[in-house]
C-alpha cells in the first residue's frame, strides 16, 4: 500500500510534476503493483548476501590519462540553452 501523501513525497524526490488525476491513478496503480511485489518480503533471506554484480569481474581499472574528447560545440549542439560554452539553466533560487 502507498497513500497519496507518499506519492506526492516520492514525486518530489523524482522531480516529477503530477496532475491531480495522475496522483490518484498513481496511488492506486502503485498500491496494486506493490501488493504483488511485497510477497518477496515473506522469504527467509537471513544471511543471504545481496548480488552486487552478476558476472565475476575484478575491478576494471585504467591509467587516468587525458585523452581527446568531443569538441564543446558538438556537445552543446543538442542543448536547449547553450550559454558561452556551457549549459544554461534557470536560477536555482526562486
Amino acid at each position: 500500500m502507498i497513500d497519496r501523501d507518499q506519492v506526492l513525497h516520492v514525486a518530489s524526490l523524482a522531480r516529477l510534476q503530477l496532475s491531480d488525476v495522475e496522483i490518484d491513478t498513481m496511488t492506486s496503480e502503485l498500491s496494486n503493483v506493490l501488493d504483488h511485489i511485497e510477497k518477496i518480503r515473506e522469504l527467509d533471506l537471513e544471511g543471504v548476501p545481496p548480488t552486487t554484480h552478476v558476472i565475476d569481474v575484478v575491478n576494471a581499472l585504467r591509467a587516468d590519462e587525458p585523452e581527446p574528447c568531443l569538441p564543446v560545440d558538438v556537445v552543446l549542439a543538442a542543448a536547449p540553452e547553450p550559454v558561452s560554452g556551457g549549459f544554461g539553466v534557470p536560477s536555482p533560487v526562486a
Binding site: 502507498i2 516529477l16 510534476q17 518477496i40 522469504l43 548476501p49 558476472i55 542543448a79 536547449p80
Partner: protein, 475 residues
C-alpha cells in the same frame, strides 16, 4: 519468383554469402530493403536511411553489406536516437554506440532505427511516444516489446536482421510473438556504451533475426570488451556458427515453476511438442526446480525501476532533449519531466524512487538483491545437472492491441519466463516453435554464462527439426 521476392526470402547469412560470391551487389540489396522499410505500414521504423553509406562496405566484409535495423535507443551519430520518448524527440547524438559501430565496421550498414516501448519499458510496444507497432502476423495484435519494432521489421521482411536490447525479456518476448529468433547474451558480452540506459545491471544488446545462424553471425560481431564500458568482458573464444545435427547427450531441464500454471494451453502444447522433437534428436529431458523463480518477477520489478529512476535522472532539460521553461530550476526539471515522459515511464520512476527512498531501501531494493542471489544459486544448481533450462518464452501469444494497457501488473506478467535469466546475468535464446491459432509461439533455452555457442548449436538442431515457416508474415 521475381528477383525482389527471392532476395527477401534469403536469410541475412544467405544474402551475405551471395554478396561475397559477387552474385548480388550490396547497393542493390540495400535499395530493396530501404524501399521496403520506407514503405513500412507496421510503424516498425522511426527513421529510415536515405541511401546506402558511402563508401560502402568492403566486398569481403564478414557481414556482406547486409543492412541492419537498430533499436531506437542505440545512439547513432547524427541520426535520431529517441528511445521511443517524447523527451528525446529529434535528438541526434554526437557519437555511435559501440555495438552498432562494431557491426557497421563488420559490414552491416544502418538501414533504419526501430520503434520501441519508451526507454525499453513495456512488453507490447504500446508505450512508444511514436505510436504502437503492429504485429505482421495479425495487425490487430501487438508485436511484443520492448524491441517490438526490431522484431516486427525482421518478421515482415522489412529488414534482413536487427538488434535490440533485453532487460527482462525485451528481445526474447517480441521475437517469440513475431515468430523470429531473439538472443540475450551473457551480461557483459556486449558493450553497453551508447545504449540509452534503462537498468544498467540487466541491460544487454542482442540480435533479432530470421534464424539461428543469422543470430550467431550477428552476435559474433557484436561481442567484445570495450574500454568505454567497464562492465564489458572479452568473450571467451569466437561465437561459432551452428551446425549440430542432433541433441545427442544434451540434458534439458524443464522448470516446474515456469512451464505449467499461468501458461496458455496453446503455448504449452507447442512447448511440449518441441520437447518431443528434442527427445527424438537425442536430448534427455527431465523436470527440475528453480525454487525462487516465482519471486523473480517481484525482484525484477523492484530492481529495474530502481535503476531506471537513477538512470532517467539525466533527462532534466539541461543537456539535450525537451525543456519546458520555468523561472526556477527545480520547477523546470519537474515540468520538463512531466511533459516528456509517458505514463509507464512515470510509473516506473515512481516505483523505483519509492523502493530506494529512505526507510524502504532495505525492505525493497535490499531484499530484491538478495532474491537475485537465490535465483542465481538456483540456476547454478540446475546447471550442475542440465546443459540448458527450457521454457516457453512468453506465457501467451501476441495479444490484442489495448487489451492489457489498463492493468500494469497484468502487462508485467508477460515477463514471467524471461526475467529470471537477466537477474542471474545468463544468456537465453527464443526460437519459434510453431503456431497456436495462427500466431507464433516461442521456445526458450537458457544456459550458463558464456555458453552462447553451445546454446546456438542446440537451438539450430531444434530449429531444423521444427521447420517453422515464417514466410506468411513477409507477404
Amino acid at each position: 519468383m521475381d528477383s525482389v521476392t527471392s532476395l527477401i526470402e534469403l536469410t541475412a547469412t544467405g544474402a551475405a554469402e551471395r554478396v561475397r560470391a559477387r552474385e548480388i551487389e550490396p547497393a542493390e540489396l540495400f535499395d530493396v530493403y530501404r524501399s521496403r522499410a520506407a514503405g513500412d505500414d507496421l510503424n516498425a521504423f522511426t527513421w529510415v536511411a536515405d541511401g546506402p553509406p558511402t563508401p560502402g562496405p568492403a566486398p569481403d566484409a564478414p557481414l556482406g553489406g547486409v543492412p541492419l535495423a537498430v533499436k531506437d535507443l542505440f545512439c547513432t551519430e547524427g541520426v535520431p536516437s529517441q528511445a521511443g520518448s517524447r523527451i528525446l524527440e529529434g535528438y541526434r547524438p554526437p557519437y555511435t554506440a559501440t555495438v552498432v559501430a562494431n557491426l557497421m565496421r563488420a559490414g552491416a550498414p544502418l538501414l533504419g532505427k526501430t520503434n520501441q516501448d519508451e526507454f525499453a519499458m513495456g512488453s507490447s510496444n504500446e508505450n512508444s511516444a511514436f505510436g504502437p507497432v503492429l504485429n505482421p502476423w495479425d495487425r490487430s495484435r501487438v508485436p511484443g516489446g520492448s524491441s517490438g519494432g526490431s522484431a516486427a521489421a525482421v518478421a515482415a521482411g522489412l529488414a534482413p536482421w536487427a538488434i535490440g536490447t533485453d532487460t527482462g525479456g525485451s528481445i526474447r518476448q517480441p521475437a517469440a510473438l513475431c515468430g523470429i529468433v531473439g538472443l540475450k547474451p551473457t551480461y557483459g558480452a556486449c558493450s553497453r556504451y551508447g545504449m540509452i540506459a534503462f537498468a544498467s545491471s540487466l541491460d544487454q544488446a542482442g540480435p533479432l533475426t530470421r534464424d539461428v545462424t543469422d543470430a550467431a553471425l550477428l552476435l559474433r560481431h557484436m561481442v567484445g570488451r570495450d574500454r568505454l564500458d567497464s562492465t564489458s568482458i572479452e568473450f571467451p573464444g569466437e561465437i561459432e556458427l551452428p551446425h549440430a545435427e542432433d541433441l545427442a547427450g544434451i540434458r534439458l531441464g524443464v522448470p516446474e515453476e515456469l512451464a505449467g500454471d499461468g501458461i496458455d494451453p496453446g503455448v504449452l502444447e507447442s512447448f511440449k511438442a518441441t520437447l518431443k522433437l528434442a527427445e527424438g534428436l537425442g536430448a534427455r529431458i527431465e523436470s527440475c526446480r528453480l525454487p525462487h523463480a516465482a519471486h523473480a518477477l517481484s525482484a525484477y520489478y523492484l530492481i529495474a525501476p530502481a535503476e531506471a529512476s537513477a538512470n532517467l535522472a539525466r533527462f532534466d532539460g539541461v543537456r539535450y532533449g525537451l525543456r519546458v521553461d520555468a523561472d526556477e530550476l527545480t520547477e523546470m526539471y519537474s515540468r520538463t519531466r512531466a511533459a516528456g515522459f509517458g505514463a509507464e515511464v512515470k510509473r516506473r520512476i515512481m516505483l523505483g524512487t519509492y523502493a530506494l527512498s529512505s526507510g524502504y531501501y532495505d525492505a525493497y531494493y535490499g531484499t530484491a538483491q538478495k532474491v537475485r542471489t537465490k535465483i542465481a544459486d538456483d540456476f547454478a544448481d540446475a546447471f550442475a545437472t542440465f546443459d540448458f533450462i527450457v521454457t516457453p518464452t512468453s506465457p501467451w501469444t501476441a495479444f490484442k492491441l489495448g487489451s492489457k494497457v489498463a492493468d500494469p501488473y497484468a502487462m508485467y506478467l508477460n515477463d514471467i519466463c524471461t526475467v529470471p535469466m537477466p537477474l542471474a546475468g545468463l544468456p537465453a535464446i527464443s526460437i519459434p516453435s510453431g503456431l497456436s491459432a495462427g500466431l507464433p509461439v516461442g521456445f526458450q533455452l537458457a544456459g550458463p554464462a558464456f555458453s552462447e555457442s553451445r546454446m546456438l548449436s542446440s537451438a539450430y538442431a531444434l530449429e531444423r527439426a521444427i521447420g517453422f515457416d515464417g514466410s506468411p508474415a513477409r507477404r
